[in-house]
Structure formats: C-alpha cells, structure tokens
C-alpha cells in the first residue's frame, strides 16, 4: 500500500495498524487523524478489537487432550513442558489426597476418643522396682489386650511356660487371695498352656477361657484375616460418561495370611469401575474415546504392618498386583492405619492409589485413581 492514490484514509489507517504503510504515507495519515474525529474513532475501535484478540487465551491454548492425542498418535511421549494443562487436575488430586490423609487421621483420633481404654487396660505394664517373683506353676492366664497386631496369635502358641506372677515387695504372695487382679503379667505369661485342663485352671483361681485340646488342629488356628472394604477413589475428571456400575457391588473382599510378625500375603477380589479416556483412530480421523466400564478384579497382595503408634493404632502399607478382568493389568498401593480396639476386629482407613493399564489399537493407555479406603477386618 504505497500509492496514496490507491486507497482512502480508512485503508491507510488499516495498513498503518498492520505495519504495512511506508513512512512516506504515514505523515499524510497523521495529518488526516488530527483533523478527522471519525477517523480517530475508527482507529480506537480497531485497537480495541486487536486488544480483545490479544486476550483470546482460550484460542491460543490447545486442550491437553489434543496435545496428548497428537503425541500419542505419533508414538512420542508428551514433554513435561507441554503437560501444564494437566497441572490443574493434578493439583486437585493432590488436594484430595491431602484431605483424605487428614480425614484418616481425624477418624483415628475420633475412634480413640469413642473407645477409651479401661483403667485396667491403662495400667502400666512395667514391672515395679525390685519385684519379687513367685513361681505359681504352669497356668493359663487370660492374655492381656493385644499389645501388638499379632498379640492374639502369641496367645495361641501351644507352649507350656511357667507363669510368673509379680508382686510388690512386702506383700505375701501366698496370702494374697486375688493376686490375678493386681498382678502384672510377666511377658512370658502371655503364652497359654493349651493343654491345661479347665478344672486345673479354676483351682488356681485364674479366669481363662476354655480352650479345647485339639484347638491347634482347627482352621481357627491358622493366622488368617478376612476383610471387607470400600473405596472412594477419584478417577479421570475429564471423563464425562458416568459409570453404569451397580453401587451395591462396589466393595472388595480379601484374605490375608500372616507369614511373619509384620508381614502378610493374601488375595483380594472386588468389583469396580474405571474411567477411561484414550485416543484412537476412526477411519482417518483421530478420535478421543471415553468410557467407564466396570470389571471384576483379582489381585495378589503383600502387607507390611508397623508397630503400634497411637493407642490401638497400627500403620500399614499394602501392595496389590493383579488384573481387572477383560481390561488389563492392575496395580494398587494402600497406606493407612488399622484401629484395633478389640482383639479380633479392626477398622481400617487409608489412602489408596491404583493404576490400570489397557491396550487399544496397539497402544497402551492407563487409568489412575486416587482416594480413600475404609473397611473392617476380622482376625481368626
């Protein structure tokens, strides 16, 4: 636009704003602008339109799904610098995870308050200073409340160990009629003499449950724990298709077998849905698919249980590996606490993350879930 005769003032203005007007014609334009208020108004309008376009951030930001689709189609991994679009959802998940942890801790504290320890349970187990030990013979005292997650298993150990009643100095043990109420059990006294006859125990004035002689032959003698649990896992928020899962089936059943004081292995069976979002081709078009199928899951697991941290509370970590039937391999990790106010029953809360891998049109995709889990355990 170099010939001023070719266009009018308006065209000159447009060319100037587009950087296409040479200096020789700019003077003419400036002269017209100083005289023509209509031309100035037009310039202001054009600048306002341009300013609005410069704020068109929606248009200049490709959706994260589109970026993912491009790189997946070409077989490339998405660079971290381009993955900022998913940062918001990741932050949301982090908040959710932090909230779940807080919830788990609050639940533990509340349950501790709801089920306070009795006075007897609160008695210190420490042996008094300079105690006098009096051997009472082979007995079977009631095991104290479990001091470890496996305490009730210790109580079943079929070994005859002399029970030691510890009394305070200066007290005649033989003259003390109700020593079982005051005595602090020696650590070894937790071992039961399962072969002692009930009448013999009664004679010794110790209230102990009757244990049949053949107990060690029953299935109850095996260190099994059964549990049922549910999860509130958040899935891919971009999947808008709802799950058609029957909510009443949304639970997992599991069995754990202790292989050591802190170690257990087991299996878990459950039914859950997986929000899936993946890209594929339909003809020559790249298509984003969404679905939320439900599937039965079968997993092997390993559990590591820590020592008692808060009253009756035991932290644990559980790792699962298995498959969601007809979908793909499934891995899961759980970290939580088991609240054990009773000998056999535990309430379990924790944080859980899982990842399902699946294939579509020769490409692998994954679905991640993160959330809280809660359930009940019963130890045999």
């Amino acid at each position: 636009m170099n010939d001023p005769m070719d266009f009018n003032d308006s065209q000159m203005l447009h060319a100037y704003l587009d950087g296409e007007l040479e200096g020789a014609h700019q003077d003419a334009l400036f002269g017209r602008l100083s005289q023509d208020s209509g031309l100035r108004a037009e310039m202001q309008d054009l600048l306002a339109i341009r300013k609005a376009i410069q704020h068109d951030t929606v248009a200049f930001t490709p959706p994260a799904a589109a970026t993912s689709a491009v790189f997946t189609t070409l077989g490339f991994s998405i660079p971290a610098t381009l993955n900022a679009g998913t940062a918001a959802s990741m932050a949301g998940r982090a908040w959710f995870a932090a909230g779940s942890t807080l919830l788990a801790l609050l639940t533990t504290v509340m349950l501790s308050m709801l089920f306070p320890r009795t006075e007897a349970e609160s008695m210190p187990a420490a042996t008094p200073v300079q105690p006098t030990a009096v051997e009472l013979g082979t007995q079977a005292p009631t095991p104290p409340p479990t001091a470890t997650p496996n305490g009730h298993r210790q109580a079943r150990k079929p070994a005859a160990v002399p029970v030691m009643a510890v009394v305070l100095p200066g007290i005649d043990a033989a003259a003390e009629p109700s020593f079982e109420e005051k005595a602090t059990p020696h650590p070894q006294s937790a071992y039961l003499d399962e072969f002692a006859r009930p009448e013999e125990r009664e004679l010794r004035g110790i209230r102990a449950p009757f244990i049949p002689y053949n107990r060690f032959l029953t299935v109850e003698n095996l260190p099994f724990t059964l549990y049922v649990r549910r999860s509130t896992l958040s899935a891919d928020p971009s999947v808008s298709i709802p799950s058609r899962k029957n909510a009443s089936l949304d639970m997992n059943l599991g069995a754990l077998y202790e292989i050591g004081k802190h170690h257990a292995v087991g299996i878990e069976f459950g039914y859950e849905s997986f929000a899936q979002s993946f890209n594929g081709t339909l003809g020559r078009t790249i298509v984003r698919y969404e679905q939320q199928p439900s599937a039965y899951c079968l997993m092997a697991m390993y559990q590591l249980t820590g020592p008692e941290t808060l009253p009756y509370t035991y932290p644990f970590v559980r790792l699962h590996a298995g498959a969601a039937l007809q979908l793909g391999p499934l891995a899961r990790g759980t970290a939580g606490v088991a609240f054990k106010p009773f000998e056999r029953v535990s309430l379990v809360v924790g944080l859980e993350g899982s990842m399902l891998a699946y294939r579509f049109q020769g490409n692998w995709f994954d679905t991640k879930k993160l959330g809280a889990t809660y359930g009940l355990e019963y130890a045999f």
């Binding site: 636009m1 308006s10 065209q11 447009h14 060319a15 587009d18 950087g19 296409e20 037009e42 309008d45 054009l46 306002a48 339109i49 341009r50 609005a52 376009i53 704020h55 068109d56 929606v58 248009a59 200049f60 930001t61 490709p62 959706p63 799904a65 589109a66 970026t67 689709a69 491009v70 790189f71 189609t73 070409l74 077989g75 490339f76 991994s77 660079p79 610098t81 381009l82 078009t285 790249i286 984003r288």
Partner: protein, 188 residues
C-alpha cells in the same frame, strides 16, 4: 541432539524430524511448543466449534510430521503448518452438514462460555459471520501476525486480494460491533 532446543532455528528443527526417533521427538516437541497455540487459534476461530477445531488441530500436526519426512527444506514452518491447517479446516467446512446438530450447538455454547471477555465474545461472533475467505485472511493477520506478503503466499492469492480481504473483514467486524465497542470498552 544436545543443548537447549529452544535456541535452534525452525529450519534445523524441521530437518531433525527426519532423523532418528529421539532427535525427531525433541525437535517435534519444540516446534509444537512454538506453534501449537497459533495453529489451534486458527482452527478454533475459523471453524467456530471446539470439537471440530480439536480434530483439525490434531490432524494438522500429524500430517505436518508425515510431510516433514518427505520435505528436504523448510524456510517457513509456521506458514507450512497454517497451510495444512487451512486445508483441513476448509475440508471440514465443505463437509459440514447444512443442519447443525445439537452437539455442535452445545460445543459452540461451551466455547463461548469459556471466553469470559465480553468484547472478545462479540469479536468472535462477528468473525463467525464473515465469509470464509475474509475470515481466514483476518485470522492470519490478527491471530498469526503474518505480513500481507506471507498471507498472500499461504492463501496463494495476489497481494492486492489479501489487502482488500483484510480491509473488508475489519470493516465488517467494526460495523457489526461499533454500537457495542464503546460501551464494552468502558465497562472493562
């Protein structure tokens, strides 16, 4: 390939797309980072539908990579990308059904709702009312920042045609928005 890929010129990155996978991947990611926003903006504002724009955008980069394997030299990568995007968008406009289905309407509404700037909403609505050839010239100028000469090359039309299309597009948008621009601009 070592060092900072952001310092490598377009032409070199384009040449690396023909190299082994790792190098091609790094080069592609860098070119994508540089131009994906402009390509998506063109697709979205030309087609007006987020879903259609997303499809055209994805196809553009896939086709760009496929073409890069055969091309020997490339002096204007953004121009090449925009040419691919333009062809894909034109095909979609041509194949678009005359009746608008409900999904398209929902997508359109959602796209507009995400644009929380009132004047921008008005501008995009005005753009949608332009003829295709005016709109694409306007987009290449205002959204992509191409010079008239570059637009002439991309559209494969004479320079004078580009000038007049851009001018008329702007005039048309201004005439549609003039009653609102002053009010909206003052409210902001």
């Amino acid at each position: 390939m070592s060092g900072d890929s952001t310092q490598i010129p377009d032409a070199e990155l384009f040449a690396l797309l023909r190299e082994e996978k790792h190098k091609a991947e790094v080069a592609f990611a860098e070119l994508y980072a540089r131009y994906s926003g402009r390509v998506y903006a063109y697709c979205l504002r030309f087609l007006g539908s987020r879903d259609e724009a997303q499809d055209a955008f994805q196809d553009t980069f896939v086709r760009f990579y496929e073409c890069a394997k055969g091309e020997r030299e490339m002096t204007n990568v953004p121009g090449f990308l925009l040419k691919i995007a333009r062809n894909l968008c034109l095909n979609r406009r041509r194949d678009r059904k005359p009746t608008t289905d409900i999904e398209h309407v929902e997508s359109y509404i959602q796209t507009k709702q995400n644009e929380n700037t009132e004047l921008l909403q008005l501008v995009t609505m005005a753009m949608d009312m332009l003829p295709d050839d005016y709109r694409e010239a306007f987009l290449l100028r205002e959204y992509q920042g191409f010079s008239y000469e570059e637009i002439s090359t991309i559209l494969d039309v004479p320079l004078s045609t580009v000038k007049i299309r851009i001018f008329r597009a702007k005039q048309k948008i201004r005439s549609l928005l003039a009653p609102y621009i002053a009010d909206v601009s003052h409210e902001r």
